[in-house]
């Protein structure tokens, strides 16, 4: 055995998913469709030395997300996540409107 870790953490997919989405998926929360664990995508175990990127549940190792990148296309499979909760900044109140405390 080489001693090199087999996986890296979920922050590894930030670049690959930024290409597809306007949001940073690694700060999203998701639920594992297999065991129900809820966690940040950044906490997943990511196997990126493969024909695609595979993110697995840190608890049960089930596949949460697969991303395959061809030169002109990408495929994203999220069937292992029963939901994703994505933080979106709340709209900023117009400056003219007084804010009542």
């Amino acid at each position: 055995m080489t001693g090199v870790p087999e996986w890296v953490d979920g922050n590894d997919i930030a670049g690959a998913t930024r290409e597809l989405f306007a949001v940073d998926l690694t700060v999203a929360r998701g639920r594992c469709a297999t065991c129900g664990r809820e966690a940040m995508v950044a906490e997943a175990h990511v196997y990126d030395r493969a024909p695609g990127i595979v993110a697995r549940c840190a608890s049960c190792e089930s596949v949460l997300l697969r991303l395959v990148r061809a030169p002109d296309r990408a495929w994203l499979d999220l069937r292992g996540l029963s939901y994703l909760e994505v933080p979106i900044p709340a709209p900023v109140a117009p400056a003219a409107m007084p804010v009542v405390a």
């Binding site: 080489t2 087999e6 196997y47 493969a50 695609g52 395959v68």
Partner: protein
Amino acid sequence: MAVVTRGFTGRGRREVDLPPGQYLTDDFPVLSAGPTPRISLDEWRFEVADGDGTRQAWSWPELLALPSEEITTDIHCVTKWSKRGTHWRGVSLDTLLSGVDSDVGYVMAHSYGGYTTNLPMADVRDGKAWVAYEYEGEPLAPEHGGPARLLVPHLYFWKSAKWVRGLRLMATDEPGFWESAGYHMYGDPWREQRYWGD
């Protein structure tokens, strides 16, 4: 002492006879979509199954007792590296599938750890596929798929499932792990069948 006589020497690499888009490497890169399963040889089994259940199964000693073959072959990974003249020992799938009707069209290879990949039956018969358990004269290391992996070298190497545990017989073709996420159902390196629609 083994003496290897090379048909050519030294000056750069012969890259003719490589499938399109591939480059040569001397390494054996480890690719894996999940944790390396640790399988005890006492519990290891290779099963051939159909919709009605297991048809035939072999334990580790039973596999080793079958006639084995030495295979020397080039291998081609879809991530674009190719490796020349790798040496393997394994049992031909002709032996393991000898009891299976010729009208079965496809197989799904299943691995310890959950990986799957689909293959036409015609591509795993007639001396084209093996369950390999030695690489370069040594027991196959876990990171390369040991104790045993599929070896189907005429297709991209993702079809040569690591940690193989059996084959499920199928009447119609179904996608495996990578084939359901963009990779080609067949995966012929000479026709550069990497992705859907290639």
